[in-house]
Symmetry: C2
Subunit: 357 residues, 2 copies
């Protein structure tokens, strides 16, 4: 049966990197007879500019109907002064919550070929392979009440609500334990249970979930310590599980440990395993349109999509092997360039992956 992929290029470097990723998707589609069809739609600032909203109705209904979604990136200074309700980010957040993509898998892997790109000492990061499982449809990102109000004394006050229910914590906990089973069988749950009540409940429910997975070890760490330990000794972790806000911060720090955030894909899955796939990096407006952005994180997101949502493991393996070969050849976009490597454009990198396939 034909599978249906929705392509959302978005803003900034989004369209450029997605273009190369779609070429790769088309190539494996032919080579492996996958019968994947795809169409594109608007999201983020690009959608706002054309329709006045960052998540137009046609985009949302196509997203709901799709077997998987490939997203570039959203946002940029052009839309920074817009009202919160129509900012590009609301397009992304709207997709996450409407499709209930509660489980965000963010691997931080150091490619041996790129060890030099890390700002950390080689012995600290060599062989790094951690997975951050971030809750993506709850927490302070979506909590009510929220806003800016005027107090009786005339001054304004901003407020947001950090909230999690047992069932929300339980399902992301299970995601993390399932993932750990496929890996090093260790989950570290991150909280701030010495200060925040919501994370006291988080910690308690993680303990409950752990009982369902006797083969997986559960430990707990405070978020401030976790930020330190990621810098000090990141290889101590296997799977880290945390809420939306802490996950946003820690996964970006973890990605940067590798020195090559331009290489890291991510998956956002719902309860049925349908998902949205996107690079970990943002829309990089400063280099948009220059043809120098690194398309590999998006290409690797296609591989994740094939593996997790489209049941095409071999095609996924082929893409990952091709990316590895291209790195072996010494080809680098400028973000991961180092002495002795050959700096290539976004399109040339796409060409090289296609050649290697």
């Amino acid at each position: 049966m034909a599978k249906n992929v929705l392509i959302l290029p978005g803003d900034g470097i989004g369209p450029e990197i997605v273009e190369q990723a779609v070429r790769v998707l088309d190539a494996v589609n032919d080579a492996f007879h996958l019968d994947i069809a795809h169409e594109s739609a608007l999201v983020g600032g690009a959608a706002y500019d054309e329709t006045g909203t960052p998540l137009p109705e046609p985009t949302l209904s196509k997203a709901k109907a799709a077997d998987a979604i490939l997203l570039g990136a959203v946002g940029g200074p052009k839309w920074d002064k817009l009202d919160m309700a129509v900012r590009p980010e609301k397009g992304l957040l709207g997709l996450r919550s409407n499709l209930e993509l509660f489980s965000n898998l963010r691997p931080a892997i150091l490619y041996p070929q790129l060890a030099a790109a890390s700002s950390l000492k080689p012995e600290i990061v060599a062989g790094l392979d951690i997975l951050i499982v971030r809750e993506l449809t709850g927490g302070i990102y979506f909590g009510q009440p929220r806003g800016i109000r005027t107090l009786e004394n005339g001054e304004r006050q901003g407020y947001n609500t950090y909230v999690y229910s047992e069932s929300e914590i339980r399902r992301i906990g299970r995601s993390a334990f399932e993932a750990a089973r496929q890996r090093g069988k260790r989950v570290c749950s991150i909280d701030k249970s010495n200060v925040l009540e919501v994370t006291v409940l988080w910690k308690e429910i993680m303990e409950e979930v752990a009982k369902e997975y006797p083969d997986v070890e559960l430990t707990h760490m405070l978020v401030d310590n976790a930020a330190m330990q990621l810098v000090r000794a990141p290889k101590q972790f296997d799977v880290m599980v945390t809420g939306n806000m802490f996950g946003d911060i820690l996964s970006d720090a973890a990605a940067m440990l590798t020195g090559s955030i331009g290489m890291l894909p991510s998956a956002s899955l719902n309860a049925e395993g349908r998902g949205m796939y996107e690079p970990c990096h943002g829309s990089a407006p400063d280099i948009a349109g220059k043809g120098i952005a690194n398309p590999l994180a998006t290409i690797l997101s296609v591989a994740m999509m094939l593996r997790y949502s489209l049941g095409a493991k071999e095609a996924a393996d082929a893409i990952e092997a091709a990316v590895s070969r291209v790195l072996d050849q010494g080809l680098r976009t400028s973000d991961i360039a180092s002495e002795g490597s050959e700096t290539v454009s976004t399109k040339a990198m796409g060409d090289a992956v296609l050649d290697a396939l």
Copy 2:
């Protein structure tokens, strides 16, 4: 006029490191005729064990009467199962809020003698000198409502409130700009204004405050990007200003960049410049009582206290110079030991600083 310092050893390694710091305080008190008197009181788990509360009334009233407070550290696994209301951390949080110590200054400095201790490459961190200004009496740490409630469907839900008013933001903004004036004249304000309304207000008020300081440059950065930039290129920052929760996470990450969190002091000041001084590190229960903890962060906290709250700049300079000399001599506690250095105990490190004075 006699100055009055309250000593709060606290838990874990607190008593050991504070003991050495008090010896140093006594020494400069004599040498510089400072007329400083001090007394001790209970806080944290130690206070809970003896009185049933982590912040007994005598401690709070002595703290209010003191010209400055020197704190060791609070907390430990022994008290982890206690009710939130009486946990050791509540002693610390109670002091911060009752004394209105809203401005937390956390320097992250790499001592040239300790460059090898960092997990980052030398060229990334050599000469690092950043100051994190963290709001300490507001935000989600103190926001109401908070707690764990049972929903209609029978499941429990945890919730906390992230809240800031204009005046709270303005005063911490001014702290940061004042500090920047004494340094590199650059402030980077950290927010999550693409998602959280409370930080939209934060960003707006920072812009207002910046107008009062035309000689200081203000930039803004999203918290996830800040976590990345601290790992990628920390020297780009001069002063970072942020709220209580983000400040907790980022300041620990920044401290760990130096590889020697055992070296970093901090100050928590109120509107009159009275303050509480403490090491950035925690109570390290795993090494408590072994006599191996690093007392230097606490000794350097005494220097900060002399400079900011007790008007004894020369004594502060003398302590900092003595610490530097001891490092030059190659003496190290085990947390900062490296090849060729001499590993010494907590007390021997205190002795060495006294000798160097």
